[in-house]
C-alpha cells in the first residue's frame, strides 16, 4: 500500500506543484493519476521512489516512510516504466532487461533465465534479445520497458505515460496485455496518464488531479463516469460518459434470440431453406463459433468464406452492455452476436433489447 499524507511540493521559485495531496494506492491494485499537464501527476509519482522529495507531508510504502529508506535500495525494489520505455540505446534488449538483476548481483545463469522468461511473458520473440532498442518498433520497445521494470519482481510498479508514444492500435494491444499481466502478477501499480479513456480502461481507482496539484475526485472508473464530483471532473471525463459508463454494466445476462445458422460449404438451397425470409444468415464453424454474416440476396452458389461479411463485433454473455450494444450496431444484420466464454454462439440481440436493459438499471 502506498499512502500520501498531506503532501505538498513548492519549488524555490514559488511554484506550487502539489498542494495537500492525500491518497492511498491499495496493494495489488492499479491506481491511475490523471489530469491535464501541470497538475503534478508525474511529480507525485516521482515522490514514491524519491526522485523528487516532498516539501511537507509523507509518502509511505507499507507503512514505512520512503524518506527513511536509502534511495538506491528503495528504487531497486520499485519497477519504473516511462514513455518509449526509457531504454538504454547502447544496451541490447537482454542487457536492458538485466539492469536491476545485475545491480543486485544475481548470477549469470539466474539473469539469463529470468531475461528469457520475462521476454516470453511480455510477448517478445527470443531472437530479439541481441537487438538494440533502435532496431525495435515502438510497441516492442515498450514491452522491453515493462520487462525491465519487472526484472527483479518488485512489488510496486510506477508507470509514467508508458503507452502514449505508440499508435492507437498498438496502444490498445499493450493496454490489454498489461491488464492480462496484472491479473497474473497482482502488483501495486501507480500509473500516470493524461488520457482519461486510458485511465478508465486500466484503473481500479482513479485520482483526477487539477492544475496546482490537488485531487478533484478519487473514485472508481464507474463512479467517475456516473457521479462526477464537480464541473471540472465532468468536463475532463468527457461528453459521451453516459455511453462509456455502459462499459461497467457487466454481469448482466441479456435475453437473446435464437439465431438460425449454417456452415461454410452448404449449398444455395440449404442456405435458402434455413434463412427463410431473412435477409441475413449467420455462418458458424462446426464448433458453433460465429464466422460472419451472409447476405442472402448476394448468394449465388454454395456458401464460401469469400461471401462472409466480417464487420460485426462479438459480445460475450455476461460481458458489458457497451460491448453488446456495439455488437448490435456493428453487425450488418443489426443483430448483435452474443457468444459464451468459449466463443460458442448463444444467440443474437438487437440494440433496442440492450437499451431496454440499460434503462432498467439504477443510476
Amino acid at each position: 500500500m502506498i499512502r500520501f499524507t498531506d503532501v505538498t511540493k513548492t519549488y524555490p521559485n514559488g511554484t506550487q506543484a502539489i498542494n495537500g495531496l492525500s491518497l492511498t494506492a491499495p496493494t495489488g491494485r492499479i491506481t491511475v493519476l490523471v489530469g491535464p499537464s501541470g497538475c503534478g501527476k508525474t511529480t507525485s509519482l516521482r515522490m514514491i521512489n524519491r526522485m523528487i522529495e516532498p516539501s511537507t507531508g509523507t509518502v509511505q510504502i507499507d507503512g514505512r516512510d520512503v524518506a527513511e529508506l536509502g534511495a538506491a535500495q528503495l528504487r531497486r525494489g520499485i519497477g519504473y516504466v516511462i514513455q518509449s520505455g526509457g531504454l538504454f540505446p547502447h544496451r541490447t534488449v537482454a542487457d536492458n532487461i538485466a539492469t536491476v538483476p545485475r545491480l543486485l548481483g544475481w548470477s549469470r545463469q539466474q539473469i539469463a533465465s529470468r531475461t528469457a522468461e520475462l521476454m516470453e511473458r511480455v510477448g517478445l520473440d527470443h531472437h530479439l534479445a541481441r537487438r538494440y532498442p533502435n532496431q525495435l518498433s515502438g510497441g516492442q520497445q515498450q514491452r522491453v520497458g515493462v520487462a525491465r521494470a519487472l526484472a527483479a519482481d518488485p512489488p510496486v510498479m510506477l508507470m509514467d505515460e508508458p503507452f502514449s508514444a505508440v499508435d492507437p492500435i498498438v496502444r490498445e494491444q499493450l493496454q490489454d496485455e498489461f491488464l492480462r499481466l496484472q491479473s497474473e502478477l497482482g502488483k501495486t501499480i501507480v500509473f500516470v496518464t493524461h488520457d482519461i479513456d486510458e485511465a478508465i480502461k486500466l484503473a481500479d481507482q482513479v485520482a483526477v488531479m487539477r492544475v496546482g496539484g490537488t485531487v478533484a475526485q478519487f473514485d472508481t472508473p464507474a463512479g467517475l463516469l456516473r457521479h462526477p464530483a464537480d464541473a471540472f471532473v465532468a468536463d475532463f471525463v468527457g461528453r459521451d460518459r453516459g455511453f462509456r459508463a455502459l462499459g461497467f454494466d457487466s454481469g448482466i445476462t441479456i435475453r437473446t434470440t435464437p439465431e438460425p445458422t449454417i456452415e461454410v460449404g452448404a449449398s444455395l438451397e440449404q442456405a435458402r431453406a434455413v434463412a427463410g425470409s431473412a435477409a441475413w444468415l449467420l455462418v458458424v464453424d462446426s464448433d458453433q463459433h460465429p464466422l460472419g454474416w451472409l447476405e442472402m440476396a448476394e448468394l449465388s452458389g454454395a456458401v464460401q468464406d469469400a461471401d462472409l461479411r466480417l464487420g460485426g463485433t462479438l459480445a460475450v454473455q455476461g460481458g458489458s452492455l457497451r460491448a453488446a450494444l456495439d455488437a448490435a450496431l456493428s453487425a450488418p444484420s443489426k443483430r448483435g452476436v452474443v457468444v459464451d466464454v468459449d466463443g460458442q454462439l448463444v444467440g443474437t440481440v438487437s440494440a433496442q433489447q440492450v437499451l431496454a436493459e440499460a434503462e432498467r438499471l439504477p443510476r
Partner: protein, 214 residues
C-alpha cells in the same frame, strides 16, 4: 625521391617520435577534458566560463607556448615534455566543449530510467552517460588529433626532432625533397590517426551500426 629512399631509417624515426608526440597529449588531454566537460555539462553557471576559458587557450600561438613551457615547467628547452604539455593544453581547449555537448546529447529519459532503477551517479556516468557520448566525443577527438599532428611540427624550430625537422632541414639547405617527404608523412600520419579513432569509435558504438544484430 632517391633522397627519401636513402634516408628511410631517419624518416621512420622522425615519424615515430612525431606520432608519439601527437598521440600522448591527445590521451592526456582527453582524460583532463572529460571531468572538466562533465562539470560544464552539470553546472549550468560554469558552462560558459569553462568552455570559453579553455577554448581561448587554443588561441595562444604554438611557438610562444613551446618557448614559455620551459619557464613554467622548469624543463630544458629541448625536453619533449614541453611539447607534450603544450599539446595537452590544446587538446583540452578543443575537447571541453565537445565533451559537454556529448553529455548534453544523452537522452534525458535514459538518465531518468537509470536513476529510477537505483543506479548511483558515478556508476551512471561511466555506464550510461559516457558510452552514449562517445560518438560526439570521438568526432571532436578526430579534429584534435589532426590538429596535434600539425602543431607538433612547429616544435622543430626549437630543435625537438620529429617530422617538422625535415622542414627546417629542407629550408636550411634550400632542398625541396625533405620538405615534400615531411608534408606527405604528416598527411599520412593525420589520416592514420583519424581512421584509428573512427574505427575505435565504431567498435565502441555497436548500436549505431545499421542492421547490427550481433
Amino acid at each position: 625521391m632517391t633522397w627519401a629512399l636513402n634516408h628511410v631509417e631517419d624518416i621512420g624515426g622522425l615519424l615515430a617520435s612525431h606520432a608519439v608526440l601527437a598521440a600522448v597529449p591527445l590521451l592526456i588531454g582527453l582524460l583532463l577534458a572529460i571531468p572538466v566537460g562533465w562539470l560544464a555539462h552539470q553546472q549550468h553557471w560554469l558552462r560558459t566560463p569553462l568552455v570559453v576559458g579553455t577554448g581561448l587557450l587554443y588561441t595562444i600561438p604554438s611557438l610562444a607556448m613551446f618557448i614559455v613551457m620551459p619557464l613554467v615547467l622548469g624543463t630544458g628547452i629541448l625536453d619533449p615534455l614541453n611539447v607534450v604539455v603544450a599539446l595537452s593544453i590544446y587538446t583540452v581547449a578543443l575537447l571541453v566543449r565537445t565533451v559537454a555537448d556529448g553529455l548534453d546529447a544523452v537522452p534525458a529519459q535514459a538518465l531518468d530510467a537509470a536513476t529510477a532503477m537505483g543506479i548511483g551517479t558515478p556508476r551512471r556516468f561511466f555506464t550510461v552517460e559516457l558510452p552514449l557520448a562517445v560518438p560526439v566525443i570521438a568526432a571532436g577527438l578526430r579534429v584534435a588529433a589532426v590538429s596535434n599532428v600539425s602543431i607538433v611540427s612547429v616544435a622543430a624550430l626549437l630543435g625537438i626532432p620529429q617530422l617538422g625537422s625535415l622542414f627546417t632541414d629542407g629550408f636550411q639547405r634550400n632542398f625541396i625533397d625533405p620538405i615534400v617527404v615531411g608534408i606527405i608523412a604528416c598527411l599520412i600520419l593525420a589520416l592514420v590517426f583519424d581512421s584509428l579513432i573512427g574505427l575505435f569509435s565504431r567498435w565502441l558504438t555497436p548500436w549505431l551500426r545499421p542492421g547490427s544484430a550481433t
